[in-house]
């Protein structure tokens, strides 16, 4: 059967999306592959299809629990039952059971921390993994914008499980980062499938306002004017909530805020309401949109500037998945970068916290293996946030021997480097904002690409016809809710002919 035959058989699609076919061919040709495909092209198909075409399970390393959960749910919703997620959501008995039955699964999603455990590695060794897929592979590189120390161990783990055929997936990675991925995964030879980061269907707009209120007003104007559905991204939960409330107060009713501070029931419901078309707009933090498949998002507004161009691309990439014309608008007001710099600093533990940490470690003569058990105490004593704690814990628990003074110096050095990388990323984003040339060309240059075909509504520098993105049908099929609860209940549980 031809490759497209398999595509039809397993996914019921007639055509591949850009890059998918090349990536799949490379893998079934038995070559290690680094694939950089733009967001929204269905990266997961690149390991699912080869998985169906070969014996043995596919092991997928995924850095974010929520993303992993979404992918597993989507696969299950498509009718694939042989899929499991191994991560810290599992209780010890659930984990034991999943490990015992591991050979029954075709697709095994796993968190890097779980994959670091010897007992898990031993179990996986016996499975003859057909493909080792690393999702969000840029996390392995210190030059990447989202470096995760626990990804560094993947190369060694890969060796331990018998160097299986490997696929590294990412949406955005510069040349430098791609080289680093191959290096850290201990790949000697590999094939690169690199697609342009350019999304010609998305027009790139930058707007400047002078202060916060003006920004909020402009956001409201845009939401009223633009054809939805749309996503508005914020760096702050509080401002996301505020703006969502502001929009609702001004009569834009189908809008909700989404962020990590909501309970899990609300998060699922809001996400599903948006997918289902019950909401037009979501005011979200970056937690929103990962792993959700919604084809027809027509605009993305950035209320705050993203911390790096890579996140900007990821976030605007949630628009135009159906290929229809869409617009991304970043609204900048002077001084916005201060929030970005503050967030970058707050993510990392500072010198004072590290001093306190080592004072504690020295006084109590703590061995690093015990550090996880001391989480609560240390987090309190040093004032670590969750993210800060994970960085520290990860660093120390990977050290072989203890030399407090040396380790403190090298940790501080590492943190200092991370901060500099983050700061330079923010500066790069800021340069893009202030650049006086084609916005698309500047982004492509960052990824060593050249702009070949300029789309019609390219960017705010080249000129955008905003009328092209205007909402034309103002129909609202709002159904009054709660008028008759018995009727509502019947419409859920009884077929219309039976009501």
């Amino acid at each position: 059967m031809e490759l497209k035959g398999y595509l039809k058989k397993y996914f019921n699609f007639d055509e591949f999306r850009p890059g998918q076919q090349e990536a799949v061919e490379s893998i079934i040709g038995n070559q290690h592959t680094i694939a950089m495909l733009p967001t929204g092209t269905g990266k997961s198909l690149c390991y699912q299809l080869p998985g169906y075409m070969s014996e043995g399970p596919v092991l997928i390393v995924s850095p974010l629990l929520s993303l992993m959960q979404d992918q597993v749910e989507q696969m299950m919703a498509m009718g694939e039952k042989r899929v499991v997620a191994l991560n810290s959501f599992l209780t010890p008995p659930q984990k034991a059971k999943a490990l015992e039955n591991l050979h029954h699964y075709k697709f095994i999603f796993i968190s890097p921390e779980m994959l670091g455990m010897e007992s898990v590695i031993d179990r996986i060794k016996g499975l003859s993994v057909s493909l080792f897929a690393v999702d969000e592979a840029h996390c392995i590189s210190q030059w990447g914008y989202d470096f995760r120390p626990d990804y560094l161990k993947l190369g060694e783990i890969r060796r331990k499980i018998g160097e299986p055929l490997t696929l590294a997936l990412t949406a955005t990675a510069t040349n430098e980062v791609r080289r680093d991925i191959a290096d850290k995964l201990l790949l000697e030879k590999w094939n690169e499938i690199v697609f342009s980061v350019d999304r010609p269907a998305i027009s790139l707009a930058l707007e400047k306002v002078s202060h916060f209120q003006e920004k909020q007003q402009r956001t409201m104007q845009l939401v009223r004017f633009l054809k939805g559905p749309g996503i508005i991204y914020f760096s702050s939960k509080k401002v996301a909530e505020q703006t969502s409330a502001y929009l609702r107060e001004h009569g834009i009713s189908k809008v909700m805020a989404y962020h990590g501070g909501l309970d899990s029931e609300s998060r699922i419901l809001i996400q599903q309401q948006f997918i289902n078309g019950q909401l037009d707009v979501v005011c979200a933090t970056s937690a929103f949109g990962m792993g959700i498949n919604k084809e027809n998002v027509r605009y993305v507004i950035h209320f705050h500037m993203p911390m790096q161009i890579e996140s900007y691309l990821q976030e605007i990439g949630r628009a135009a998945r159906d290929g229809g014309d869409s617009v991304a608008i970043l609204i900048y007001s002077p001084g916005d970068e201060q929030l970005a710099f503050q967030l970058a600093e707050a993510e990392l533990p500072d010198e004072f916290q590290i001093e306190r940490l080592f004072t504690f470690l020295i006084e109590n003569n703590v061995v690093y293996q015990d550090i996880t058990r001391l989480e609560e105490e240390l987090a309190m004593f040093c004032g670590f946030t969750d993210i800060q704690w994970r960085i520290v814990e990860n660093y120390l628990s990977n050290l072989e021997s203890v030399d407090y003074n040396q380790d403190k110096r090298s940790l501080l050095h590492l943190l200092d480097n991370r901060l500099k990388v983050k700061q330079s990323k923010i500066k790069q984003m800021l340069e893009w904002i202030h650049s006086q040339e084609c916005k698309r060309a500047v982004i492509l240059r960052t990824f060593n690409e050249k702009l070949e075909d300029r789309p019609e509504n390219c960017c705010s520098y080249c000129g955008i016809e905003m009328e092209d993105f205007k909402e034309t049908d103002a129909s609202s099929d709002e159904r009054p809710i709660g008028v008759d609860w018995k009727q509502d209940l019947a419409s859920i549980l009884l077929l219309s002919e039976r009501i």
């Binding site: 919703a77 909700m256 029931e265 599903q272 019947a490």
Partner: protein, 353 residues
């Protein structure tokens, strides 16, 4: 003066506590803290309906709320962190309650262990049933706990019935069990998901029904607890809904430490022996015994209090509406505080009124 629903609840509780406990006892009550003290207080002051009914409350929010009440002259601080209602407070509360009575079916103590799991199972079962009758297999469940997903799958299989009958039976049971003029079933129904319809979040539900979020929350619980009352009164009539109620892991919900004491007591050990064996103070073991009496109807206390003394304590308690241990002790001077607490615990909430 107008007060919010939550302020009314808080004032109502402070009125019952009457300055005998700190405001933090209210925090523990809302949180449903499983400590002997909280459990005993909930019974002593007849506040069991509110046990574990508002776990999202924080100390800071509570402190702020109390400050507000004091500033508005509705409550007064009589000692550190202890408040009573002012005359204005009592009057305002009575006015508010005449207009908006407190939820009558609320019963946190009885139902706190089953409420959340019931809601998770119910919402998922309804979504699955609705999609099943529309022959839609590709949908994302509104619950992501694997445990709940498996449970509902198993539950549907066990019914051994075709999808249409199952959905219809579910509808009929719900429409009967929810129908209650003293509750607002629409608060529940707007949150349900089904085929191509995703239910509302608590916040959206509050907004659309025009209730402030705290009031919405309590009315929603009230509705569920009324539903539980119905189901448990006549389980044979609501086999599906009854099946969704999680059987508590322990029949007697005791705190862990109390459980240990209980086991030793059953083996015939005395309080002193248990205290020695567990390396705890005698007074701690006494707390455990009081908790056991509160949790287990029919637990005999005559090995601790002679029946004749029990009767005298009970009489004194009846005369003494404040139920201060000290006042009861003044009337029955040969009784220990432990004996008095045991008797109060045994007769629960209502019986001495």
């Amino acid at each position: 003066m107008a007060i919010t629903f939550l302020q009314a609840v808080v004032l109502h509780i402070f009125k019952k506590i009457n300055g005998e406990r700190t405001i933090y006892s209210l925090y523990h009550l809302f949180q449903g803290k499983r400590s002997s003290q909280t459990i005993q207080d909930a019974h002593l002051y007849q506040l069991t309906p509110y046990f574990h009914t508002y776990p999202s409350v924080t100390r800071e929010k509570l402190e702020k709320m109390v400050d507000r009440l004091i500033k508005d002259g509705l409550a007064a601080e009589i000692a550190e962190s202890k408040v009573i209602l002012t005359d204005k407070g009592i009057e305002t509360l009575d006015g508010q309650l005449a207009e908006h009575p407190l939820p009558v079916f609320l019963n946190g103590w009885k139902y706190h262990q089953i409420t959340d799991s019931f809601w998770e199972r119910l919402t998922l079962l309804i979504q699955v049933s609705s999609n099943l009758i529309h022959r839609e297999r590709r949908f994302i469940p509104v619950r992501n706990k694997r445990e709940t997903l498996n449970w509902v799958k198993q539950f549907i299989r066990e019914q051994g019935e075709d999808r249409y009958h199952l959905a219809e039976r579910l509808y009929l049971e719900l429409v009967t069990a929810l129908d209650n003029e003293n509750t607002m079933p629409e608060l529940i129904v707007v949150r349900l998901s089904g085929f191509k319809k995703i239910g509302l979040t608590t916040m959206q539900a509050a907004e659309i029904t025009g209730l402030d979020p705290a009031r919405y929350h309590f009315e929603y619980l009230n509705c569920l607890h009324a539903l539980f009352d119905r189901i448990l009164e006549d389980p044979a009539r609501y086999p599906l809904l009854n099946g969704l109620i999680k059987q508590p892991e322990r029949k007697v919900p005791l705190t862990l430490s109390t459980e240990k004491t209980y086991k030793l007591f059953q083996k015939g050990y005395s309080i002193e022996e248990i205290a020695a064996a567990r390396n705890l103070k005698g007074s701690t073991i006494e707390d455990h015994i009081v908790e056991i009496v509160l949790s287990m109807k029919g637990f005999k206390i005559d090995s601790f209090v002679p029946p004749e003394k029990e009767e005298r304590i009970l009489q004194a308690a009846k005369k003494n509406s404040a139920k201060k241990l000290k006042q009861i002790k003044e009337r029955v001077d040969d009784a220990s505080y432990f004996e008095i607490r045991l008797v109060l615990a045994k007769y629960g909430d209502a019986e001495w009124n």
